[in-house]
C-alpha cells in the first residue's frame, strides 16, 4: 500500500459503483469502485466489473484527447474494479433542469450537442448519456462521466441509438422541458457533425425516427 494514495470517505453509492473521495499524492481524487453484485453469479459479476472498469478507464483517456471535459484518469486497477480519477465538483444536470432559466438550459444543451458530436465523429459511443451522467461545475463547465458502457463504432446505427437513449431519458424524466432541451441539443449536434460529414449527420438524425418506429408497440400509422 502506498501511503500517498488513500480513500477518505464514501460520498455516493450508485447503481453500479461506490464513489469515495480520497488522495492521490497531492491531488484530491475520486475512487470509483464497481462493487460486487451478490445477486448475480460470481462468474458473471467478475467478468462484467473487470471489463467495464478497463473499458471506462481506456475510454476516458482516449476521449480527453479530443478536448471533451471528462475526469482525468490517474490509475486503473481492473483486478479490484477501481478507477482513480480527478474529482469533479458540481451538480448533476438532472437536478438543475427544473431550476435553470430557458437561455441557460439552451446554452447547456447546445454545449452537450457539441460534446456528443465530437465523440461520435471520432468513433466513440458513450452508451449511457443521461442527465445523471452530466455534471455542471460551479464555473459552468459541463463534464460527461460514466463511460462504463462505452463502445467504439463508426456506424450510423450506433450513433443514432446513443441519441435515441438520451432523448428517451429527457422524455421520461424531464417531460415538460424535453422539447426545448432536446431541440437545442440536436441543433448543435447537427451543426457540429456537419462540419465533419454532412450526409452522415443527416442519416444519423433521420435514423433516430427509424429506431423509434422499430420499437415495440408503436402504432402502425406512426411507422415510416
Amino acid at each position: 500500500m502506498n501511503p500517498d494514495i488513500y480513500k477518505e470517505k464514501l460520498i455516493h453509492t450508485g447503481a453500479e459503483a461506490s464513489l469515495y473521495l480520497g488522495k492521490w499524492f497531492d491531488k484530491i481524487v475520486l475512487f470509483k469502485h464497481r462493487i460486487p453484485k451478490k445477486y448475480r453469479l460470481e462468474e458473471i459479476d467478475n467478468k462484467i466489473r473487470m471489463e467495464r472498469t478497463l473499458n471506462e478507464g481506456r475510454a476516458l483517456i482516449k476521449v480527453k484527447n479530443y478536448g471533451i471535459n471528462v475526469p482525468q484518469v490517474y490509475e486503473i486497477d481492473s483486478q479490484n474494479a477501481t478507477i482513480i480519477m480527478g474529482y469533479i465538483e458540481g451538480r448533476k444536470l438532472k437536478n438543475l433542469i427544473g431550476i435553470l432559466n430557458l437561455s441557460k438550459k439552451e446554452k447547456i444543451f447546445k454545449e452537450i450537442g457539441i460534446m456528443v458530436a465530437t465523440l461520435h465523429k471520432n468513433g466513440h459511443i458513450h452508451g449511457d448519456i443521461t442527465t445523471s451522467n452530466l455534471i455542471v461545475t460551479n464555473e459552468g463547465n459541463i463534464f460527461l462521466i460514466d463511460f462504463g458502457l462505452h463502445e467504439y463504432s463508426d456506424t450510423v446505427e450506433d450513433k443514432s441509438v446513443d441519441l435515441h437513449l438520451f432523448k428517451r431519458v429527457l422524455i421520461s424524466s424531464h417531460g415538460s422541458n424535453y422539447k426545448v432541451c432536446f431541440n437545442a441539443f440536436l441543433e448543435s449536434y447537427r451543426t457540429e457533425y456537419e462540419k465533419f460529414d454532412l450526409n452522415e449527420s443527416k442519416s444519423i438524425i433521420k435514423n433516430i425516427n427509424a429506431i423509434e418506429t422499430r420499437g415495440r408497440y408503436v402504432k402502425s400509422e406512426d411507422r415510416m
Partner: protein
Amino acid sequence: MKKYCLGIESTAHTWGVGIVSFGGEDSTLINKTFVPEKGGLHPAMIREHHLNCFSDVISEALLEAKLSIKDINLIAFSQSPGLGPVLKIGALVARMISQILKVPLVGVNHCVAHVEIGRLTCNIQDPLTLYVSGGNTIVSAYESNRYQIFGETLDLAVGNMLDSFARDAGLSHPGGPKIERLASNSKKYIQLPYAVKGMDLSFSGLYTAAKRLLDAPEFNDKYTLDDVAHSLQETAFAMLTEVTERALAHTEKKEVLLTGGVAANKRLQQMIQYICDEHNARFEAVPLKYAGDNGAMIAWTGILRFLSKGRHEINETIIKPKERMDQIEIPWRIEE
C-alpha cells in the same frame, strides 16, 4: 348496494374474467388458458379457444362471486396491446354485454392493468415496476402523469425467450417453471452473452447462444440440460436485475413491484429482493394469481378509469394492438 365491474382479459392465450367491487375489496377471477399440443401460440387457434369458452367462463365467474349478471354496473376489457385477432374477441364480447345490460363500457391498457392490480393487491403506492411475461419486458414508473418506460427489451420478451428455449429442449409449454426446476439442479455456469444497453435489454443473442449449446457435440457430455438452463436463467435474470437497479437509482423510487408471469420465479424474486435491500426500497412480488394475465386487473383498472374520467363511447373502443403504456395519460393519479 355495492357496485361491481366485470373485466375481460383477452390479449394473448388467456381468456380471463374478473369481477371486482368498486372499492376494490372484493374480487373474483376465472382464467382459461390455451395450451398448444405442440409448437407455439398461433393467434387463430387462440381465437378459436376464446370463442369456445367465453360465455362459460363469464358464468363461472359470476357463480363464484355469487352475483347475477344484473348486478354488474360496468364492463371493462383489454383494449391494448396484444394479438389483434384475440383482442377483437374481448372487445366484441364486452361491447355485446354492455349493450345488452345497458351499462357503461371502458377499454383498458393491459400493461397499465398489471401495475394497477399490483398496487391494489400489494398495497403499494408509487412503485418502480418490473413487468416480465411472455409478451412484455418493461421497467416502468409513474412520472408526469404517465407510466413512463425506463427500460424495455429491444427484441424478445424474457418469458417468450424462456418458452422458446424450453421448446427447443423438448420441454412442454409453459417452459418457464420447467427451466426453473432444471436450473435448480445445477451449479455449473457456462459463459453466455450479457446484453444491457443503458436501461434496455436484448435477449435474442442470449437465446441463440443457449440454443447452440443444445446442438453442440459436447451436449450431454461436458454439460447437461440442467447446466444450460441454469446458465440461461442466471444470465437473463442478472440482466433484468441490473436494469431494474439502474432505473431504481435513477428514479429514486422507494418501492419495487415485480409482476407478470415470470414474476413467479423464485430466483428472480431473490435477485430483485437483493437490490431492494441495498437501496432501502420495499419489495413486493404480485401474488401469482394476480401476476399472470387475468380479468380482475382489467376490471380494477376499468373502475379507476371510470371513476376518474368516465366511460368510453362505442367509437372509442377500437382495439389498439400496438399501444405502448407510456402513450396514455393516467387520469386517476393526476392529483398526486
